[in-house]
């Protein structure tokens, strides 16, 4: 609750001030109240126990499907794999046309053209965005020039959304200004494309750091903040997601702007997804329960959502044989 009390006194002009130079950014960040670890985890755990059944569950499953960023980020990705992924994005369950399409497909930059081509062949494909990971994903270990080129390359190929990683090395060394500027530059390189900023929570060590990184990303112009690359353990834990949603909520209170949030990594079951939606409902409120403000980055989750949906429809448990692989 200290967060809200603190921010009541925070005005849009303070944010303007924080953007002025590195010293003022540092001063702003250092004045953010610390995170109550025990309280945060307890709240996240308590919200995770909520039981959602029958028609509410059915509604949330469809919402969760519509929020999925269907992802393939493997070194072994091929054009065929991406084409298959796009087919699944458009028609997640080929046996049931009432299943909504997912929000986006998420691929490496060089696969954007493949994804665009594959989606253009489907009538429902136009509504699905193509997100590309960029800026030397997943490590982010490259020079700014390379990162910007990586970003522009994906945007030129037609990416609607860019998922960038922050420079965790710089962040952990306390070079907040560098992190901030890099995001700003990438945002510029994005042009019309939406920018999601990946904090890689698993590498940030503390909740305070996650909170600080969230604010830096929002100050620098992120459209979305995203937990993780999916390549590092301890990714989208309920506590991490709650903390980042609180940052979105606080930002909204101060500026009136709505920043989106994307948990990714380790969300594999329908139950996990339901927990995320409860966190959104209880933190930022229902306005965020839309694919334009909340996404779930996942690959295996979609199949579990589909199997749960089949179970609700048919009245008995389904099998992975009734959903497609990949």
């Amino acid at each position: 609750m200290t967060t809200a009390a603190h921010l009541v006194h925070l005005a849009a002009s303070d944010l303007e001030d924080a953007r002025r130079d590195e010293a003022s950014l540092r001063s702003f960040i250092s004045r953010l109240p610390g995170v109550d670890k025990v309280g945060l985890e307890a709240r996240a755990a308590a919200l995770g126990t909520r039981s959602i059944k029958t028609s509410a569950k059915a509604q949330l499953i469809d919402l969760a499907i519509a929020m999925v960023d269907l992802t393939t980020l493997e070194g072994a990705d091929t054009t065929g794999k991406v084409t298959q992924l796009c087919a699944k994005a458009v028609t997640p369950d080929p046996l049931d046309a009432s299943v909504p399409a997912v929000a986006a497909v998420c691929v490496y930059g060089d696969k954007v053209a493949d994804a665009k081509a594959a989606l253009s062949t489907h009538p429902r494909g136009a509504g699905i965005n193509v997100a590309a990971v960029a800026t030397a994903f997943p490590s982010g270990r490259a020079s700014l020039a390379v990162k910007l080129l990586d970003t522009r390359d994906a945007v030129d190929a037609g990416a609607d959304e860019i998922d960038m990683v922050i420079d965790r090395g710089a962040f952990l060394s306390g070079r907040y200004g560098q992190v901030f500027e890099e995001i700003q530059h990438v945002k510029q390189a994005c042009g019309q494309a939406h920018l999601k900023v990946i904090l890689e929570t698993g590498e940030l060590q503390t909740y305070d750091n996650i909170k600080r990184a969230s604010w830096i990303a929002m100050l620098a112009g992120a459209d979305f903040i995203k937990t993780s690359t999916g390549k590092v353990p301890l990714a989208a834990t309920p506590a991490n997601v709650l903390l980042m949603l609180e940052a979105c909520r606080d930002w909204h209170r101060v500026t009136g702007e709505k920043i989106g949030m994307k948990p990714a990594g380790g969300i594999r079951t329908t139950k996990d997804a339901m927990k995320m939606l409860v966190l959104v409902h209880e933190t930022t409120g229902d306005e965020w329960l839309t694919p334009s403000l909340f996404r779930i980055g996942a690959s295996t989750l979609l199949n579990d959502l589909l199997m749960q949906r089949q179970k609700l429809r048919d009245g008995h448990y389904s099998s992975s044989r009734y959903v497609t692989n990949d």
């Binding site: 009245g315 008995h316 448990y317 389904s318 099998s319 992975s320 044989r321 009734y322």
Partner: protein, 287 residues
Amino acid sequence: MTERIEVRKTYKLFINGAFVRSESGRSYEVFSHDGEFLANVAHASRKDARDAVVAARAGQAVWAKATAYNRGQVLFRVAEVMESRRAQFEEELRRTENVSEKKARKAVDNAIDRVVWYAGWTDKLAAIAGANNPVAGPYFNFTVPEPTGVIAIMAPQSDSLLGLLSVILPAIASGNSTVVVTSFHRPIPAITLSEVLATSDVPAGVVNILTGDFSEIGTWLAEHSDVDGIDLAGVPVGDFATKLEALAASNIKRVARPFTGDWNDEPSLYRLRQWIESKTVWHPIGA
């Protein structure tokens, strides 16, 4: 001197190689044949059955990949561990089934012998259930038995050890995995068996043991699309068995119908053959 505090055992379910409480938090009391209180055991729910099927599906892939010889070794190891726990099994049989010491000993002998019998069959099954088929063409043509997949088993209600083993073993010998609903009133030998399995190199998920009521969770297992076969050995002949058979047809499960014989009779290959599929391969000669 202070009196020693008795260590009371809490009986749990055996799912995915771990001993867990029922997700529902329920338990029920089990009594000896004479009505003496024996234990509280977990009362498995629909969700426990669901979790067990997930575990069985994962375990089946591991178990089927093991060589038939290796599966035989593991089953033989089960017999070894049972042998070292035979006093416990005998005691439990005496109390739950109200049999004499001599009969209990004989029953445990039979049970362990049955394990050894099936252990021997693991790597011989292919020789009798498979074939080298004569075909009119330049091909070798083989038929090989493959496991059916995940088998739900409604264990016999009265013969709580030999009957139980006689339905689990034929399923796992050929590489299937199982979700077993034990005898409702006599679940304790099954729980002890789960402790044996946990220490016998049987991979997690291959045998999942749920203490509870088949009339409650049987229907969920019968219509579960990820269950490939259902053994109704412990379900009495009648409307409920027929209902389970009809539900099992929804995803074309294999069904073993209610058992009406005597488990002490010499085992046959009937149950082993029940849980295999035949794969036929054509292979060009000289290629």
